[in-house]
């Protein structure tokens, strides 16, 4: 031990420790581990989709099978109305569903964090105005608002991401604001101010790192909601019809009349996939939540 530890390396060591401690405690949540394993598997499948099922799985002109075939050795989940393999589409659809879920949750949490920290930090009438706006978004039925947005804007994946992101941030904003107020009442913030720390410094260097774990948990939980909302919007026919997603597959199945024809193999797999991914994210999120907030305990 000849080198003198610098401030940075100390900070890094502390962070490494924190991560290790976090992981150790996360490991004790069995459900969280299952969720993580499931997520890793689905994410790997989605990333490897071009290798596993090939780029041409979406092609209608080169579709290999007949329309609406039942499951067989060649098509384990049967085919859709264009003769495309449903298993291939299911794997391919994971890409869109995951991408939309992640991006929309990230957008929503970003907006929520920004609004929450700013409102919590400045306080006063500014906070009141911001919080009333937040309340307005909170009482608006998110799905209705998302449908309106998706209808008004042109149909694309980005519209759906935007619609979900814009409608689901208020919860995060409220949480982050409360946490910001709690953090800012601590003595060390007062010390930082006394030492000349401005608004920006306090918000980014002291408050943000302290609300980050909360934000992380919120994101993980938000993803499952976002995926469900994406599926709902696509199912209602508001997604991009040229993109294969799980919700879109359900919508295609409905339009093809698969429900009344009893083609359960068209409807069930995307539905189950949506449920599983949402469940996996929720399990992870809850595990993170209880690691970060011991008050929640293990019983819940």
């Amino acid at each position: 031990m000849t080198t003198v530890p610098t401030t940075t390396s100390l900070a890094w060591a502390r962070r490494r420790n924190a991560v290790a401690r976090f992981w150790q405690r996360y490991r004790s949540h069995r459900a969280g581990l299952y969720g993580l394993a499931g997520l890793a598997l689905i994410a790997a499948l989605a990333l490897a989709a071009p290798l596993v099922v090939g780029d041409d799985v979406q092609s209608v002109t080169d579709a290999p099978g007949g329309a609406l075939e039942s499951p067989s050795g060649r098509f384990p989940l049967g085919t859709d109305q264009f003769g495309r393999s449903l298993l291939g589409l299911l794997v391919w659809g994971a890409r869109v569903s995951l991408a939309v879920g992640l991006l929309a949750a990230a957008l929503s949490v970003a907006i929520g964090t920004l609004v929450g920290i700013v409102a919590g930090h400045y306080g006063g009438w500014f906070s009141t105005v911001l919080m009333r706006v937040t309340d307005w978004f909170l009482v608006m039925p998110a799905l209705v608002l998302a449908i309106v947005l998706a209808t008004v804007l042109s149909r694309s994946m980005w519209t759906v991401i935007l619609a979900i992101g814009i409608t689901s941030w208020p919860t995060t904003a409220r949480l982050v604001r409360a946490q910001t107020i709690a953090v800012e009442s601590r003595p060390y913030i007062e010390r930082a101010r006394a030492l000349g720390g401005g608004h920006g410094h306090v918000m980014t260097r002291h408050v943000l790192p302290n609300v980050m774990p909360l934000v992380l948990a919120q994101t993980t939980l938000g993803i499952s909601t976002a995926i469900l909302t994406e599926a709902t919007l696509a199912f209602l026919g508001l997604g991009d019809p040229t993109v294969v997603s799980w919700g879109g597959m359900l919508q295609d199945a409905r339009e093809a009349g698969a429900v009344s024809a009893g083609h359960w193999w068209y409807l069930a797999p995307p539905g189950i996939a949506i449920a599983l991914v949402a469940l996996a994210f929720t399990l992870c999120g809850r595990a993170i939540e209880s690691v970060l907030n011991p008050k929640l305990g293990v019983g819940r």
Binding site: T232, P241, S260, A275, A278
Partner: protein
Amino acid sequence: MVIKVTPRPPRTRPLIRLFLASGVAASALVAVPAQAAHAQPATDDSKDGKGGKKVLTIAVSQSIDSLSPFLAQRLTSTTVHRLAYEYLTNYGPKDGRPIPGFATAWAPSPDKLTWTYTIRTDSTWSDGTQATAEDAAWTFNKMMTDPNAATANGSFTANFKKVTAPDPRTLVIELKKPQATMTALDVPIVPKHVWEKVGDFSKFNNDQSFPIVGNGPFVVTDFKVDQYLKLTPNKKFWRGAPKFDELVLKYYKDNDAAVAALRKGEVSFVPNLTPAQAASLKNAENIKVNDAPGRRFFALATNPGARSKDGKTFGSGHRALLDPAVRKALFLSVDRRTIVDKVFQGHAVEGEGYIPPRFGSYFWKPAPTQKLTHDPAKAAQILDQAGYKKDGTGRRTGKDGKQLDFRILCHATDPNDKAVGKYLQEWWGKLGIGLKVDCLDNVSDPWAKGDYDLAFDGWSVNPDPDYVLSIHTCGALPATPKDTGATDNFICDRQFDELYARQSVEYDAAKRADLVKRMQSRLYDTGYMNVMVYPNAVEAYRTDQISSITTMPEDGGNLWGQDGYWSWWSAVPAGEGGTGAGGGSSSSAGVVVGIGAAVVAAVAAGLFLMLRRRSTADDRE
């Protein structure tokens, strides 16, 4: 990290929020999937045999725009008017030729400008008043003098000079110039003594007082927007009263729900089936699937440069589409056979001319030398020759050096548009042309503004082709860019217009048919439109509720949306033994319920997780 928690009062707020959230989310999320499961009738009188009343229930999805014959344009509304009112002439169920309706005989004067109709004496309004020529004269005069009354059918009376009823049995119509559609005037005749009290015809929707006075085979007795429309037979109808005791148009916004209701016997008839639904219903007990040649064509339309009568051009149509070579290349790379086989799964006929083959006398096919058969290689060659070369990325560039990218306007509610859109994307992609499928709920606005490159287009064709031809004449263009014209696709072609003018004054059926065929040939050659397929009418009815019904044409025709009242007027209820109709639900109905339950369960699970998160969120605050 430690979170400081201020003690909170008992959690009342989260409970309220939880309740609200679950209510809103549950109703919003569950509404659609659950429809299939709880498609129970509000009133349980739709099963036949109940109280001895024979009810024929038809599942419909299209909303009624208006019950006023002067405003109604949608198929559901005009079908209701066919049932509730008489028209001067009707179309025979056998071959669609004009047959007596409200008029028993008609004849033009030698100069072709005066038509005299003999009105029947055995037709009475449902309130007991005798229906006379005076009612018909009043109806036409109203349409000629009040622009608000000419909204729906004004095209028929635009050329009328004078309409009189010299006596209750005679109607005389004087024309400005000859008019070929005089035996195909699709104008419901309304009772003068009821309608002359109406003030503003643009606002009166005829849906306030029931029963609605009419003289057709049925009388409209009740109507709730997007719920149901009820009709009872007109016992005094001159052709004979309908056999069913009641006819109900019942709304199912989800076609799968309608099919499930058909399986359970809650409805007697469902139109517009998808191929998968038709295939599964074919094996069902007591259900007959009727797959008949349709009245519609399904076409690709290109924006020929939107313009108005005052010579102004507007809209944002792609300039490259003004080049006939580009349009030809696009159409050449459309494989119509594949669309019939894959998208319609055989429930359609490959497109050729403009008018569907069902209307035999007007049906026209392109000559082999004229026909644009599927030939992607030739399409690529045409584009190469016309100077649209491929760039380094394999995409073709236009004259302005930009890559060729088109938009196509698609009806978000029509699965066929979306499906064909997918094929077009790939076919034109191989050609080096990009395509963006713009699916909208309301395509009329961008369409009327000319803000489209290509569009999916389709019309139901009447036995008399005048109307579907008129929408491609220069006369149908909007007056100014701000107006809306009757034009379908802004086509304005001098040759086509000349032929249109000639056919509209031609009383000789054979000569007129020949002119109509030449018009179609011209329309084909202008290359602004390409008919891809003629979709079949695929519909199903319960044979244990309807024992016989007349299709139109009688030999292998359709039932819903006929040019006449034949199907519902002629429908004969099944014998008394048909009371046990409810028991016929098959295993797939169980699957439907199962799937519905699974969806509801998944939604509930998601909701539960969401709410759990929210409740803990409140703890953390």
